[in-house]
Amino acid sequence: MVTLNDYLALSAILFAIGAAGVFVRRNLITILLSIEIMLNAVNLTFVAFGRALGSADGQIIVFFVMTVAAAEAAVGLAIVISLFRHRESLNPDSFTALKW
C-alpha cells in the first residue's frame, strides 16, 4: 500500500539530488539540469498532494510550474550561450571576475 509519505520521501530524495548537483558540479549545463530535477521533484509533491486531497489544483500548479521551468530554461541557456561565446568555458569558476 503506497501512502502519501512514500511519494513525499521520493520527492525529497530527488530534490536533494538536484540540490547536490547544483552544489557540486562545475559545469553550467549540468547545473541547469539539476535545477530541472529540483523542479520535477516539486511537481511530484504537488501531484501527490492533489491526489491526496482529491482536487485538481495539484495538476494545475504543475502546469504552471512546467511553463515557468520552460521559460527559465530558455533564458538560462541563452545566458550560457553568450557566456560561452565570451570565455570559451562552461566552468562557473572562470566567471569570477566582475568585469566582462
Binding site: D6, L10, E36, N40, G50, F63, A74
Partner: protein, 183 residues
C-alpha cells in the same frame, strides 16, 4: 495493491538512479539523455497518481521540448567536459575546498528532508478516495479560477522568448544586417 507498490518502487528507483547519474556524468549529452529517462519515470509516477494529464504534458513539454532545447545547446556549443586532470583522479568528496563543503551540505540536506517527511506519518498518510483526473475538469478550473495566472504565464513566455533571442544574439548582428546564416 501489490502491482501498484511494485510499479511505484520500479519508477522511483529509475527516477532516483537516473538523477544520480545525471549529476555524476561528465559528458553533458549523457546527462541530458539520462534526465529524459528520469522524466519518463516521473511521468509513470503521475499515471500511478491518477493524473494522466500531468503525465502526458510532462512528456510533451519537459521531455519533448525543454530537453530538446538543452540538447541543441549542448550540441551547438560542443560543450567540453569541465574537469581537469586533477578532477578526474580525485572523488568530489575528497577534494579540498568548496566542493567537499558542497557535497557534505547536500548529504546533510537529504538527511534533513527525509527526516522531516517521515516524521508526520499516520493520519495524513493514506490517499483519500477518488481523484479529479478528467481533463475537462482541469480545463474548466484553469480558465475560471486560475484565469489570471494563465494570462500572466502567457506574458511570461513572450518575455522569455524575446529575452532569449536578444541574449543569444551575436554582437556583430547588432551593427550590420546579418549575412546569410550557415543553416
Amino acid at each position: 495493491m501489490g502491482s501498484e507498490a511494485l510499479l511505484f518502487y520500479a519508477f522511483g528507483a529509475i527516477a532516483v538512479a537516473t538523477s544520480l547519474l545525471v549529476i555524476g556524468q561528465r559528458n553533458p549529452i549523457y546527462s541530458v539523455l539520462l534526465l529524459i529517462a528520469s522524466f519518463g519515470a516521473l511521468s509513470g509516477l503521475y499515471v500511478l497518481l491518477d493524473a494522466p494529464f500531468a503525465a502526458v504534458i510532462q512528456i510533451i513539454v519537459y521531455a519533448g521540448a525543454i530537453m530538446v532545447l538543452f540538447l541543441f545547446v549542448v550540441m551547438l556549443l560542443n560543450a567540453p567536459h569541465e574537469d581537469t586532470d586533477y578532477d578526474e583522479r580525485v572523488h568530489p568528496l575528497l577534494r579540498p575546498g568548496p566542493m567537499r563543503f558542497g557535497a557534505a551540505l547536500a548529504a546533510l540536506f537529504l538527511v534533513e528532508l527525509v527526516w522531516a517527511v517521515m516524521r508526520h506519518g499516520g493520519e495524513a498518510g493514506q490517499f483519500a478516495g477518488g481523484a479529479v483526473s478528467s481533463v475537462a475538469a482541469i480545463g474548466r478550473l484553469l480558465f475560471t479560477e486560475y484565469g489570471f495566472p494563465f494570462e500572466v504565464t502567457s506574458v511570461l513566455i513572450l518575455v522569455a522568448m524575446v529575452g532569449a533571442v536578444v541574449l543569444a544574439r551575436r554582437d556583430s548582428d547588432v551593427d550590420e544586417p546579418s549575412e546569410p546564416s550557415a543553416w
